[in-house]
């Protein structure tokens, strides 16, 4: 049921956003970002879905089929799957940088509470 996938993506997105808006712990905010990131994976893979499609792998086709037949047949959209891979890579980099910043913030401020880490305001 593909609708369930979309709903799942939207729910994950909202959950991530809710975490960012309401949790004051910086680690939890980073987890919220990761949740939002995960929602984009679900959305992209669901958008790539075609009913009854096979994986877009053209090497080693099943017996009796050529790669051309597979390419013209019913395969899931490889481009969106590709984006999903890109997003995972970017997500890892971003999570790494965020956690590095969080560690340094914790060392300097001695807290992870976003409400106490606001020397700059007004």
């Amino acid at each position: 049921m593909i609708i369930a996938n979309y709903l799942c993506a939207v729910a994950l997105f909202c959950l991530g956003l809710y975490t960012i808006l309401t949790r004051r712990n910086l680690i939890k905010i980073v987890m919220g970002l990761s949740l939002m990131e995960a929602s984009t994976y679900v959305l992209l893979l669901s958008l790539a879905h075609r009913p009854g499609a096979t994986a877009p792998v053209l090497l080693n086709p099943p017996a009796g089929q050529t790669p051309q037949q597979l390419a013209q047949g019913n395969v899931a959209d490889p481009i969106l799957q590709n984006f999903c891979l890109t997003a995972i890579i970017i997500g890892v980099a971003v999570t790494g940088v965020s956690l590095a910043v969080v560690v340094r913030v914790a060392q300097h401020y001695g807290t992870l509470d976003a409400d106490k880490i606001r020397a700059m305001r007004g």
Partner: protein, 587 residues
């Protein structure tokens, strides 16, 4: 050189700074001097490369290069495309040129930094500039997202470059959260567009959207506008901007404000006018709203800010608002004004931030109230600050007068007088804020400064070149309007020409004409009026900066990352809901 040969150079504009960054990082282990030379040379070469394309592009050519030499098949572009048009090139050129100057300044100011730090800094800085140039030149939606993300990663690290400063870390975290959310929005939007039309090439998307856009397309547009508005720092997406600019080192805040935030406006202009045209019309009203709120709000916050860099950062929000209003006019004159103001903002705002950084460097003061007398002690610095402040204030013959004048003229042409009045109000507050800062620098000093360092030659050269450019771009307004800014505006306006060029491997956009009357009496009277109104306002603001309503207004900027993300989420909902509502009302 032929057009095809020129077009094949387009990817080099990104490859050269990327390679230069990596090489500079590696060379820093061997020799700091060599590393510095390579990074400056790489950026200067990028600027030269872009300048080589300029004559053809400003004649109306669109230089198109398919990466991997994959030509389109039956109107379907298979690979990533670079399309150099006048709109993108204008921004890319100014980013490369100002970037080179900022790098020179940084090397001159921070000569006590270790070679490893310098190598890391050069690498990040070149990465940022390469990403900004890539975002301006690319004609592919996902590639645009990738450059956005590269610029974002570089900016997180640059903000927190001095890891021992807690403020820098705090700012970096806020920047990180808000920009990350924005990048998800852009990514989801790209996926929605692709799922709907099977296209990522901007020209192909333009063709696919020629009919009535579906709700999914409009949602995607809303997400894109919200995402890039976060980059541009338009209210209410602006939470990260003042903190990141305050905490970063001087040349980095200059780069953020002068060249990085502009990329949001460049991308919004491209998407709204050349991709979604003519279906993107409802978004113009929205941009007008965002722009006016940013212009007035940013200027008000700037007026009551005591930290000089924070004042300038709020003024950046105001200037981005002016740019958004210019886009929202949608007319040739307004778009020309926007393109001109984009260039001017890169010049005068990086100059102001460099001055602020130089004052902090030389005196150790960060608060405006502690800086009295800095302008008298360092006359060149004071003069450069005054030139930039006058340029923003729009005093002829400096550059701000021309660009703001063009945007005003566009509002007048379309008889949007209430908007015009709000813009003039924002201008009055802006002049008051910057005037207060400039006058403070020349007040008698209250005592000795914490530090007493001299300006180094490299710093002075960068300041004077930028100040000279502010004057030059004002004095030579009419050739610039005719040959640079008018083609840039036309590149946005002629959406069919641009998209046809992208699909045909090159082409031209039509010629547009923009007139600017340098001595228009109405504009001169407006300038005079804003000056007369700004003086008492500045005086009043100095006397009443602690008043309760002002404290209450400033409390909006709570400093909590949760609140800033909330403002962003509210902005996102407003943007998407407005687009949905206007689409449903149409049916």
């Amino acid at each position: 050189m032929g057009t095809a040969a020129l077009a094949s150079l387009a990817p080099l504009a990104v490859v050269v700074p990327l390679t230069g960054g990596v090489v500079a990082l590696l060379l820093s282990r061997l020799s700091a001097r060599l590393s510095r030379t390579v990074s400056v040379a790489a950026l200067a070469a990028t600027a030269a490369l872009l300048a080589m394309m300029a004559p053809a592009v400003y004649r109306g050519e669109v230089l198109v290069h398919y990466l991997g030499h994959q030509p389109p098949v039956a109107g379907q572009v298979l690979g990533v495309t670079f399309g150099v048009d006048a709109w993108g090139l204008t921004y890319a050129l100014i980013a490369a040129v100002v970037g080179t100057l900022l790098l020179l300044y940084m090397f001159s100011e921070q000569d006590e930094l270790g070679s490893r730090e310098l190598g890391g800094f050069s690498c990040l800085f070149l990465l940022l500039v390469a990403a900004l140039i890539g975002a301006a030149l690319t004609a592919d939606l996902v590639n645009l997202f990738v450059w956005f993300e590269v610029a974002a990663l570089a900016s997180y690290a640059l903000t927190a470059f001095f890891l021992e400063r807690p403020l820098a870390l705090e700012a970096s975290f806020k920047l990180l959260v808000l920009t990350n959310v924005a990048s998800f929005l852009i990514f989801v939007a790209a996926a929605l567009v692709y799922a709907g039309h099977g296209a990522l090439n901007l020209g192909q998307i333009h063709v696919a959207l020629a009919g009535r856009p579906g709700l999914a397309d409009l949602t995607a547009l809303g997400l894109l506008v919200a995402g890039f508005a976060t980059k541009a720092g338009l209210a209410p997406f602006h939470g990260w901007l003042p903190d990141a600019h305050t905490a970063a080192p001087g040349p980095v805040s200059a780069a953020f404000s002068g060249i990085m935030v502009n990329v949001g406006i460049v991308a919004i202009g491209r998407l709204v006018f050349t991709v979604y045209a003519p279906a993107g019309r409802p978004v113009l009203g929205l941009l007008m709203g965002l722009g006016l709120v940013s212009a007035v709000g940013g200027a008000l916050f700037a007026l009551f800010s005591d930290d000089l860099k924070r004042l300038l950062a709020y003024d950046t929000i105001a200037q981005m608002g002016v740019l958004a209003v210019g886009l929202a006019t949608g007319s040739g004159t307004g778009l020309a004004g926007t393109a001109y103001h984009l260039v001017n903002h890169a010049l005068f705002k990086s100059l102001l931030f460099l001055c602020a950084g130089a004052i902090v460097h030389a005196t150790g003061a960060t608060k405006l109230s502690e800086m009295a007398g800095a302008g008298r002690r360092m006359p060149w610095l004071g003069a450069a600050f005054a030139v930039a402040a006058l340029a923003i204030a729009g005093i002829p013959p400096l550059n701000g007068y021309v660009s703001v004048g063009l945007i005003h003229a566009a509002l007048e042409e379309s008889h949007q007088y209430p908007t015009y009045a709000v813009m003039v109000l924002a201008q009055v507050v802006t002049i008051a804020a910057l005037g207060r800062a400039a006058v403070t620098l020349y007040r008698p000093a209250r005592g000795e400064f914490e530090r007493a360092e001299r300006l180094r030659p490299g710093m002075l050269v960068a300041l004077l070149l930028l100040a000279g450019a502010c004057a030059g771009f004002g004095v030579f307004a009419s050739p610039l309007v005719g040959h640079v800014v008018a083609p840039a505006a036309q590149a946005l306006h002629d959406a069919p020409g641009y998209s046809h060029a992208l699909l045909a491997g090159g082409g031209t956009v039509s010629h547009g004409h923009v007139a600017f009357d340098y001595f228009a009496p109405a504009e001169l009277v407006t300038v005079l009026m804003t000056l007369v109104l700004a003086a008492p306002l500045a005086w009043w603001a100095t006397a009443h900066s602690g008043a309760r309503p002002i404290a209450r207004m400033r409390a909006i900027q709570t400093g909590s990352v949760n609140d800033y993300a909330t403002y962003q989420a509210v902005g996102l909902i407003v943007v998407v809901a407005t687009l949905m509502f206007s689409a449903l009302a149409d049916r």
